[in-house]
Amino acid sequence: MANSYDAMWEKLNLDLDAHSGLLEVLGKFYGDIHASQQGRLRGMEYLDFVLSEVHGLRIKELQEAKAAGRIVVGTFCVFVPEEIVLAAGGIQVGLCAGAEIGNEQAEKVLPRNTCALIKSFVGFKLARLCPYIESCDLIVGETTCDGKKKAYEIFSDYSPVHVMEIPQMKKASDRVLWKSEVLGFKNKVEEMTGKKITAQSLKDAIHLVNGRRLVLQRLNRLRAAVPVPISGRDALLINQISFYDDPVRFTAKIGELCDELAERVKAGEGVVPKGTRRLMLSGCPMAVPNWKLPYVIESSGAVIVGEESCIGTRNTRDLVKETGTTVEEMVEALVDRYMRIDCACFTPNTERLENVVDMARELKVDGVIHYGLSFCQPYAIEAFKVEKALGKAGISMLSIETDYSMEDVEQLKTRVEAFVEMTS
């Protein structure tokens, strides 16, 4: 990556040495796991480019936007309504937290048995490694799992943090709470940007974010074809990049990629040999550059055809109704849409079980791999229920618990291969 960004990174107060170490790891990883694949789509060049410029060009764009008076809001959860930020003229980025490079720092302020995602975002902040975090005018936290909830308290010693209270159930009173949280967030953002959200700006924002969801839905429909036209790794990457790329450009580019994919499907071309097992992932989000398990799976005679996770269908399945004309009506529509998220932090969470089974059936998978980050209680406990629900539908599931370290790759391979053999 060009040194021309050094000055920008320095201005963002990054630890330049550690940061170049991170970029090196990222580049190597990307080369091994993504760029080395056979028969990739031409459209993936855009993603290669975005990734190679992940800490460069996109950060530069953010700096330019900030110089022009826009604010940048960083999030760690798909509950934070991006439409609000966009409608107020801000930019929202989903921060990734998929590498363990800042762990040593994180473990100074967090217990060791904290989930890798939390350790990663705290570590990135403390080690001054992430230009996205450093570009943010506001970090939005949320009360989902206990680990995150408490970690934001620590985070707020280093960055301005606004915490949204996410209900834990889906009763009428929970909806009332959630609505007041959405309105509170709206006030907060309006206060920061000095711009009032109007019916027009909110309508546009809703349309924009829906558009991005729609293109990702299209991608998911296309990749479900037999033979599979795109690797799961590439599809995951597209979902990951959707969190920080410019939404207008991203939607257009992925639209083009989908056109190419549609031609492939029509021509009956696939990326994997016949007989490759079709598997689906379900569980915790996989943030950049956490490509470990997809890589293990796709080098074990299987291909991933769907991700039931927040970097996957949980983020794209539901749209916001676009029928509202007033700000009030549109806020209601937002509240409804976000209340439908079936995160394991909710109780009960039967929608998720239904969604997992439906998705596995629609995608005609040979099995499901449930992915839980070590020490993530909500997903670990729910895994048992998911397995039962899938079992009833005659679909086998393998439960994997792991983190970002590479120590267990060989053991994971054995498990995944045995599962692939089992579903053959």
């Binding site: 086998s396 267990d408 053991q411 054995t414 498990r415 291969e417 045995a418 053999e421 089992m422 053959s424």
Partner: protein
Amino acid sequence: MFDKDMVAGIDIGSRSIELVVLNSGGVVRREKLPTTFDPLGQCRKLVEGLEGVRVVATGYGRKLFAESFPGLNVSAITEIQAYALGVKFLHPEAGTVLDIGGQDTKVISLSGSGKVVKFEMNDRCAAGTGKFLEFMAVALQVPIETFGEFALRSERRVQISSMCAVFAESEATSLMARGERAENIAMGLHAAIISRTIAMLRRVGASPPLVFAGGVAHNPCAVRLLEEQLGQPVSVPENPDMVGAIGAALYGRNGSIQ
């Protein structure tokens, strides 16, 4: 001796490597070597003279083996599949397979036709594996081969609460310092690993009959405790540590997982 029906299975584990050669009549060769620091060298010794024979590799070293002997006709399957096939052949009635090996423990649940329906593996640390027993035998200065018999000479079972090899060792040492008989401690250590194994069996929903394979199945105390705690008889194949290699060879013969 060369016959076109000949197939070989090789199980390359972290502690030992087993080779089984089958022809249409049954097992014609059965060999075992320690893995040592040079697993490929050990493999080379074992497969000498097998040029032209189909070899199926399993165990941790399966990939390395497949890559390192391009001259042989090699394919690879996982230990899970190999144990399932081997047990099904030796004990067609088996409902569940338990394999406690040198470095991991596996539980495999089989369907009526012998297909794998579910499996669990403990492969993260020594706790609950043969390695744990080896470690403890050294601590109590008993040869590992007779550690089971030694434990069976206990008069009571002391409680060992830690499953971590390091903590369990210090627990055992402090029990000895308090004058506890080594046999009783050995029994406590066996009981600790078996109760952990039982928990794994329950998770898989182990349906009987249970076939116990892998190196630790040689240990009579482990077998006794398993039967006691499960309340059902446990079958141990004649050469329990050869089951993976047999299963691999069978895969080679049938060419698929049937």
